[in-house]
């Protein structure tokens, strides 16, 4: 590449300079345009943060740090707090990881170690296509297909079973077994992050030199031992990065969650009960909001920005320049 710069410079200094002179302005313009476009990416990111902080300022000024710890959301008395939405966001995302990560790792292991050659491509493509299904479709599937089944076969039997028990009787008890709730949102989010985490993990496992795997098999290791003691330690940092990337997606996902979380403003101890996340509350209320409610929603957006960007930055540092669709 330096050779190219050098040769162009050489051409300019020598007699050819006169001939290429007319295009020099165009050359500079082209480079300037490409630089400006790249800077625009930074500008957009700064703009997102700036506009949200600007919009949120009245709420932060009014409530201060109390905004974080208050669980009020009262339009009549103009009292707003972030706690239920923040807890809902984190709870749904963590449930999504708890369910989604083992499935993702299983898929990655299946595709790299177990899958017969002819099936590898179609299966991998099916999993990756799951990533391109729009989130609103996951929302419809969750609400109309999954939630009724979930209510009938999980919520009702589990609630009957645990009723009256300490702790589990609270956490796993559905007052109204409608199928929607924080756990349903977590399950739908898990399905949505699986293709991302699985495809990054698969790429990482594929990058591990075959010799390592072969020598492990050669000394008599089983597939489990190869995966557990050779592949996972090799790729662990990237796998954690992939999981963080999935977490970032789960935290900010809006439409699917809005469909299935039930959109309740109060805090409940049961993961079967309806709740709300930051994104779902903004989606639900923003268009009808004004004044302090609007800036409180912006303040929620600001919290979401901070949480997801910290997670995403850590994720990107861990994954670095691996393939991310």
């Amino acid at each position: 590449m330096t050779a190219l710069t050098h040769s162009v410079a050489l051409a300019r200094e020598s007699g050819v300079a006169a001939r290429i002179a007319p295009s020099k302005t165009g050359d500079r313009l082209f480079q300037g345009l490409s630089y400006a476009s790249a800077l625009l990416v930074l500008l957009v990111l700064a703009g997102i943060l700036g506009s949200i902080v600007y919009g949120a300022w009245p709420a932060f000024a009014e409530f201060g740090f109390g905004f974080l710890t208050s669980s009020a959301w009262n339009i009549g008395t103009e009292q707003y707090g972030a706690l239920p939405a923040v807890i809902g966001t984190v709870a749904a995302a963590l449930l999504a990881l708890l369910i989604g990560v083992p499935i993702s790792l299983g898929i990655a292991v299946y595709l790299t170690q177990l899958c017969p050659g002819w099936a590898r491509k179609p299966v991998a493509m099916t999993i990756e296509l799951l990533a391109s299904v729009p989130s609103i479709i996951y929302g419809m599937w969750g609400l109309f297909v999954f939630a009724p089944l979930f209510a009938r076969f999980v919520q009702v039997p589990v609630s009957n079973l645990v009723e009256g028990m300490p702790i589990v009787g609270t956490v796993l008890y559905a007052r109204i077994p409608s199928g929607v709730g924080v756990l349903t949102a977590g399950i739908i989010l898990a399905i949505m992050i699986v293709p991302f985490v699985a495809s990054i993990t698969r790429d990482m496992l594929d990058q591990i030199p075959t010799v390592l795997r072969e020598s492990a098999y050669g000394i008599g290791c089983t597939t489990w031992e190869v995966v557990r003691h050779v592949l996972v330690p090799q790729a662990s940092v990237s796998i954690i990065g992939a999981i963080m990337l999935g977490l970032g997606r789960a935290l900010g996902e809006t439409m699917a969650v809005t469909f299935v979380i039930g959109n309740a403003n109060r805090l409940s101890a049961s993961i079967f009960d309806p709740g709300s996340t930051i994104a779902s509350r903004i989606a639900n209320e923003f268009n009808e909001a004004d004044g302090l409610q609007l800036s409180s929603l912006m303040a929620l957006g600001c919290l979401l920005f901070i949480i997801t960007f910290i997670v995403l930055i850590i994720a990107r540092l861990l994954v670095r320049r691996s393939k991310v669709a």
Binding site: S7, L42, G47, I48, I52, P102, I103, Y110, A279
Partner: protein, 297 residues
Amino acid sequence: MDATNPLATTAHAPRASRVRSSRRVSDRILIVASTLATLLGVIVLGSILLMLIVEGVKGFTPALFTAPTPGPGSEGGGIANAILGSLVMTFIGIVIATPIGLMAGTFLAEYGKTSKIADVIRFLNDVLLSAPSILIGLFVYTLMVRPMGTYSGWAGAVALAIIAVPVIVRTTEDMLRLVPSPMREAGAALGAPRSLVIRAITWRAASAGIVTGIILALARIAGETAPLLFTALNNNSWFNANLFGGVPNLPVMIYQFALSPYPNWQSLAWAGALLITVTILALSVTARFVIKEQRQR
């Protein structure tokens, strides 16, 4: 150990067999669990498609593509206005995003390379790639909707463009990097200025890959709902040609109609959902085949 003490072999024999069986069990568990996980993924995709086809095909009538969305509780109607609105906004979005993304990707691959500023931009572009789309909706609301005092198709298109840009930047850079350096050097040796080398040689060699990036970006923004909620909103009639006021679009229409109590609206939402998912899956599959061709070149 066993070699130095031959007795140990017999002494450990029963234990060894127990270890072997536990090894076999853990291995079996892994194989069964990971196969089940994969099966689950395939079943979920199949179930989503099945649901869309079963519910969506019922709503497929000629009127779907000719009539605008009906009022609440009324019969008949179609989703022609939402289809047109989505096409217009997606088109404007991609027209805005393509030059910016292409040039920014070119900067990263051809000019910036490993410089500090290029590293920072590359990193933040990757972060922007997975940023929550609802925050982009809030940004464009503050930037355009509030100052203009009205929801507009332009604001929707800008929001979609912001989502599309990082996708195009990423693929463009990746594809340009695949172009071998000797091709650029050959161009430079002929006396071509750098911008001409990029336009006539690098871009052309990577054209299939760059097109893939644009198709992927299209697939990404075609189904985006959250950023349109506060920018284009929706409405139930034909929209203004100047795109001011609410512009009907498929994703927000699906969202509002699917959660409505009217059976007619719900069936239109299903038809729209089928249409949009089939379109997006077709775009993704196309992109996959184009990129394969580029890699093989």
